[in-house]
Amino acid sequence: MPRSHRGNAMIGDRKPSAINNAVPTKASQKKLNRRRFLIKTGGVLAAGAFGAVPLRGWAADPINIGALYPSTGSMAQIGVGCVAAAKLAVDMVNEAGGIKSLGGAKLNLIVSDVQSDTTVTRTETDRLISGNKLSAIHGCYASALTLIASEVCERARVPIITGSSSDQLNKGRSYTFTPFARASQFAKAQLQMAKLVSEQAKVAVIFENTAFGTSTSNGLKELAPGEGVEIVMFEPYSAGFTDASPLINKVKASGANTLFSLSYLNDLILIVRTVKQVGLNIAINGGSGGFVMPDFYKNVGKAAEGLQGVAHWNHDVNDDAQKVNAEFKKRTGEFAFEYAGGLVAQTFMLADALERAASADPKKVREALSTLDVSSGYAAMAPGGKVKFGPDGKNVYGRPVGVQWQNADLASIFPKEDARASLMKT
């Protein structure tokens, strides 16, 4: 039933929401007398009659940052988490005094819902850019959506910064910035992690027979010999199966000691549960995406303990990340997942660029982003700890972090420089 989820558009919040962190005026703390009351109400009435009058000189103009996330539709849950992170990041920048070179201007977040749909993403990105004076945009979580938003941003000459991992985002683009590890790096990290489990890494690769599964698995297959990893089983399966038992039976027969499962959440849950039922002793690497979300643990429970994956950000990379994590947890009840945490870092990268550009003009912000070079603070909280963009918009220091579910939390275990816990053998 393709596209039927678009019925959600009816309830989707299509109005851009904005947060304004105006400094409370001192006057409001004073006792109100009648004259002040009249001046105030008169001003408000006048503003209503003649249209809002910007209070120049009173505070610097806010800087508009666009945020494109799927807060309805099939990716809604993740999208909502991203919006929460985006708001947190803007609050953090503003509470620290905003953009000083622009007179302490505050960041103003304008959120737009792309409804987990590529067509909507195109129109919403257009609408967001034409309807607002934006300095930069970030979005959209899913690579498929980000690729479209990035095209629109390139044409409109508005910089977009994203945590999406598709390598395609670094091809022929000059307004697109990707501060985190790329998809091709993820595959390599997964293979190297297989060697943590055993020197004689024998990997079974099972992947759903879709574009995502096929392309990712081929990447693994090509890189495996160079990493000294033997692939003993390489098998596509039909996504959305009813029973993982026959597939796991095959994995068992292959004699593998590590299983790479390139699957969406539901299949992965079935696979993990079935491995436990069979009593098969095998290390599982679930990759990234849905696997490194708090929801995965909720669904799989204790069976998730010891499962490995890869992420472009993790909440234990450094102290700044831990602080962000604590605040995010307070606001949403969940730990800061990779995309949420990465998003906070991205906002600080934008703030850094705005500071140096001393201008809200998107072209100048792009220039400043292209010369970004940070190695401390919230902007640099990423695996590797440094951000500097190459000509393709790729962070030259970007690398993925290998993670493992330990005690209902994601712990960084790979590479050595980023490891905050040791590998738990299962």
């Binding site: 039927s4 989820h5 019925g7 849950i269 079935t274 669904n299």
Partner: protein
């Protein structure tokens, strides 16, 4: 080799039990009311959500929530038959097809709206348990699901063969017009048939919940197999659908095991084509008719 084969057959048989509950519902509705219910999978989905919410809100075991999901869906079935299906029964098939298809779309999108697209899983003490016998293993949750599915099928068989209402349903299924001439009230029979079919879908949902995730599109995974089983087991034939479902479960499992992990359905459809080639009216067709 022997072990792998035996394990594949066990796996197939266990999942076949779930296919059976869904396909028996479809075939019952087709046999008695003479319409194809495209929304059958969505009722499985509703059964899963009922069990999910009872488990998470009240801590009720999904298997126990069977006693809620089945009656709820039975009543839903009777109401749907009474207020919707009854009005489109006639010589023209199109309104019926559109109605059940619309019902499927409506339920899908409503559940997307209400429950979101997230996967919901229930953990029970037996969810990840399995019995190991020799080199074979039997997952407990699936074994229970299979046993209950077979028991429900058996009860349905008894109902159809020993009660007046059941006989009336069978009569209506064999020849609706003659059955009506014999004084059988079609509306009552249709309502009970539709309700029973939906109750079976609800049961399938509750039985799936300990080992499968609920999400709005989950029904579509099962309904495809159900339609194949209904055709293979002769349209309208409950026993045929049951046997065909079990066969398909085994065929799928053997296909994944010995042909390729993405070839399970290929083997299933090959089996369907072979059946249609040699027994055009299906496995359950009576000879000489």
């Amino acid at each position: 080799m022997w072990e792998t084969l035996a394990q594949a057959v066990i796996n197939g048989l266990l999942i076949g039990g779930i296919y059976a509950l869904v396909s028996i519902g479809v075939t019952l509705i087709f046999g008695v009311v003479k319409i194809v219910n495209f929304a059958q999978g969505e009722f499985v989905m509703l059964g899963m959500y009922i069990s999910f919410f009872l488990a998470t809100q009240f801590g009720i075991d999904p298997l126990v929530s069977l006693v809620v999901s089945m009656p709820v869906l039975f009543v839903a079935g009777v109401l749907i038959q009474h207020f919707l299906i009854r009005r489109v029964l006639g010589p023209n098939d199109m309104p019926q097809i559109f109605l059940t298809f619309a019902l499927s779309l409506l339920l899908l999108n409503l559940s997307l709206m209400l429950f979101s697209a997230n996967y919901r899983t229930v953990h029970t003490s037996y969810s990840d348990e399995a019995w190991h016998i020799g080199g074979l293993y039997i997952p407990v949750a699936k074994l229970i699901a299979f046993a209950v599915a077979m028991a429900l099928s058996g009860l349905l068989w008894l109902f159809l063969h020993t009660t007046d209402l059941g006989r009336a349903m069978r009569a209506a299924s064999q020849n609706r017009d003659v059955a009506m001439l014999m004084g059988i009230n079609p509306n009552r029979v249709f309502a009970v048939a539709f309700g029973t079919a939906l109750a079976l879908a609800g049961a399938a949902g509750s039985l799936l919940m300990p080992f499968y995730s609920a999400y709005p599109f989950v029904g579509q995974v099962f309904v495809l197999m159900a339609f194949v089983a209904v055709v293979m087991g002769t349209l309208g034939n409950v026993m045929g659908a049951l046997v065909a479902s079990l066969m398909m479960g085994i065929a799928e499992s053997l296909g994944i095991q010995f042909v390729g992990a993405d070839s399970g359905l290929i083997v299933v459809f090959a089996l369907l084509l072979l059946t249609l080639a040699f027994r055009p009216s299906g496995l359950g067709a009576r000879r000489g008719r």
